[in-house]
Symmetry: D2
């Protein structure tokens, strides 16, 4: 199983499908698990922001993790961020017992200095256990916590159990280069970097040093292909594929409504039965769906995966 | 039982006592419930920020509510704010079934326009049920959500089940006057206003229109006396008592460490066995305790309640 | 001259070119003014965020405005946002005397309720004068002030001198539809809407009701053509052109470094002599320039304007 | 002249008096300068937040500085914080040429990591000149920038020209102790610490290691006496005096309206002719003035300076 400092590839961020009565749609969750695996995913990340983790009850989170872990043949990483370290620790221990490969932890808007950030991750590692492998999420646009390159190095030095950076700063191309340069010079230890930000800069990130992607774009199969093209050094072909998808990637990366776009695309692709979301958060209007359908049709002219 | 638009008096915000192993200290919780009642409290508010609600597991919150409601002879209001409306609704229904008088709801930092605020409280009222009486918490310093006077009027008009404003804007003396003026002119419906902000402006708030206090200062008996002096029109005596307590009130109202001060004072007064807090958050150093002890000794020269 | 509630077309947001000694490069400013006009711009907006307005001395702002207004044959709108209303008013009066068509005003992060926002724009209109036409900037991602649709309606109702909305919320497609629906139903008065956000959603915005674009993308000629294609109902052609530019548009829209990308592109296109920026803010590294050059070369295969 | 790493005493933060036409009231400015000196101030700090620096035109700032520096017999420190480093540098050079003892610089809300903070002060020191002595303002409540103890140490290590910390974090008693401990152990170089936060914790700060106060409370003469009592080890007497003033100190420390309270008190004390403020910001209502008058009358029973 691959969740460690050497991990390369694509870890889709999984959605959480719901039924009309707002309960979890377990059949769709199974189908979605298969969808990610069939797309060639290296692993699956569940209970992230896209997975509407903040809107789930503790027992729902546990059951979702149990279901996906039991079904998946690839490593499963579980988002455990929580205002309560006790709750974070409990979920982490439960999912590790269930067979998760590791967990994912983010900061929050209240962290306003490097000292506060360092204390937060010390508390988090105490809560999840020193031996639990974890990914550090660097997503300032939504989380409002800024991790400088030296701060990332400090967290990595403090916590050998952190094996991966989920990189989604904005901008971050130079940041990736700076991290890799620090590692090359011996100033920072090794770890895997998977990039996110909805995939908005996936055309250049591998050249800057990323090891792959950990993001929720509804075409994980296209992400896997982009990743392969990059590994093979086919720069132009990777850009051609990326450029074809960029209009949709951008729609999905919008704040708030992006989640609705993502679930709508997953539904159109047959990966989940419905695009229902829990509140709060905007839904797609008929007009908004028509725009996505139009972009899908345009994409289908270049990528047959979109012909649905 | 008094939790309605006519409510007057003092609703202490209750702390949550812990044992050295960080479990809830049920004996201290009983003692604390009695302490508030013996102090003359009109009601008790549990699971607020001071009650470390964000660090509790859902079942702990439920058990704490059950325990306090069962023991108290005065109305108990339960803080139910939660990033998940599902979780908010569940806790609200559970505590109302247990006999709570009502719940308390706040906004959060993500609410940046009056439309977003209105939507948040619509979702919240849907979640807790249209018939559940609730208090609206207006605490921008910590919650980062700003409720203007017209916005408060709008929430009150939208939701007849909101019976009380927990007023802790900063500054807020003119705001209290503006709300009462709007009500007097018929532009806003009636509701109770209890003030908080640690009690920092309790010397003037009743004259500005407040109906009492809902705050966590460790001398609820002194708050009850201040309230009585105000009702009796004894302005100078009310100020004398307030001024004697202000040095301690200010220590308790500090961000972060204020909670440690509050629990230390409750321990010194015998209301709880230990001043243990859950992480994160700073603790009192020996030096910090010495300062509180010194202020207590100074206060004891003017108020015998502090002679401990 | 077109700066009013009927305005349609493209208003580029102008950069401010500097010399190596960090003084304003007046020759480049002239060349840039011509560049925008030759691109078919309806008007020019100067001293916005892209124009590094916050890094200019008051007399520099005045001189830049004087120079551009004197040279341009199209209307010039001047950003006058300033923490000081006195300074805002002074610059507004000066540029209107020089012949500006109007000014542009934004809110700021300190505005946390609709009442505060309304007061801010009242103070601003008092400062610039009731008769000065102005554009309202709605840019929450950078300015951290959220204008709901009803709030925009309120500002427009309060201030007849506001003739335009510079729309750059994120997301905003539904918001555009909501504004136009409110106007169609008589619930909101008429005004022009030019969209920005770097042009990231220009492929759909005109269909949602925008009248054109007010943004800084370094291909204003392409923006003018997209605008024309939309007006002519050539949806597919407009999308084809947009999609070709989207990879570059996205690079320019990055926080911070986007300004460096924009100036580099303007330099590559010959519109300014150097891509020098004032501090603070990141510059493009050689690697970053290579990436832009690569995207330019890719674009040139579809749009000859990029063959440089 | 005393503005260096050994500085002790009281540096009042000066208000800026205005005439009814909103121009600077030069006579009152002279009177205020004398008032601070006659109060026993060690120095005077002008053009801070209390001095409404953000609402002044550049030439007004310059003239105010020139006037106060020419009249004062004590060192004058000038706030030069500005979104534009060019403007910051120009004002700094001008006031140093006029004879200022040094300048004061703060961060801003955009600084979200230690790296960003370090870069900000590097740019600032480049702008004001390496040889200009300056005070570092640590005021997170208003400025939204958090300086941890290690970060303060880093700024001090990077910039030998920084001679003073204007300490107004909240809470900060433990922070003062931590800084002094770091200095005692050789981990941080020496510098002066004057505390602010409106004086809300002046009863304990000297024991924690502060060298005095730099704050705007309208009784600088009382601050000077408190400082003296602390130096003489008269703990109880210092607290007695502090406690008498605390009700007013608290009124002045309110966000927004605190400035109105401060100017009203300065007017009542005869230090300025009128309590006029520039917009934006709330004014004192008649009711608010009555409350201040009442607190003044109460204070006068304990401190004859308040008998006015």
């Amino acid at each position: 199983m691959s969740f460690g400092i050497e991990t390369k590839g694509v870890y889709p961020i999984a959605a959480t499908p719901f039924r009309p009565d707002m309960s979890v749609d377990w059949d769709s969750l199974d189908r979605l698990t298969d969808f990610y695996q069939d797309a060639g995913a290296t692993g699956i990340t569940i209970l992230g922001i896209l997975g509407e983790a903040g809107k789930l009850e503790p027992e729902e989170s546990r059951e979702i993790a149990a279901r996906v872990i039991a079904r998946a043949r690839v490593p499963v990483v579980v988002g455990v961020s929580n205002p309560s370290f006790a709750a974070m620790g409990r979920l982490a221990r439960e999912v590790m017992d269930l067979g998760a490969a590791g967990v994912m932890i983010a900061g929050h808007a209240g962290l306003r200095s490097d000292e506060q950030i360092a204390a937060h991750f010390r508390n988090a590692v105490d809560a999840i256990g020193q031996d639990t492998p974890w990914a550090l999420q660097d997503y300032p646009l939504t989380l409002s916590v800024v991790l400088s390159v030296p701060m990332i190095g400090r967290i990595m030095a403090d916590h050998p159990s952190c094996v991966m950076l989920k990189a989604e700063d904005w901008p971050q191309l130079e940041k990736l280069s700076a991290i890799r340069a620090a590692q090359a010079s011996g100033g920072m230890r090794a770890f895997s970097i998977l990039t996110a930000n909805g995939g908005m800069f996936l055309d250049f990130e591998p050249e800057r040093g990323s090891d792959g992607a950990m993001t929720g774009y509804a075409f994980p199969d296209a992400l896997v292909e982009m990743d392969r093209l990059h590994r093979e050094g086919q720069r132009d072909a990777a850009h051609d594929l990326f450029d074809a998808h960029l209009p949709l990637i951008r729609m999905e990366q919008q704040q708030g409504v992006g989640l609705a776009v993502s679930k709508y695309l997953l539904m159109r692709r047959g990966a989940i039965a419905r695009d229902i979301k829990r509140r709060p958060g905007p839904a797609l209007t008929p007009r908004g769906r028509e725009e996505i359908d139009y972009l899908l049709a345009r994409l289908a002219r270049k990528d047959p995966r979109a012909a649905i």
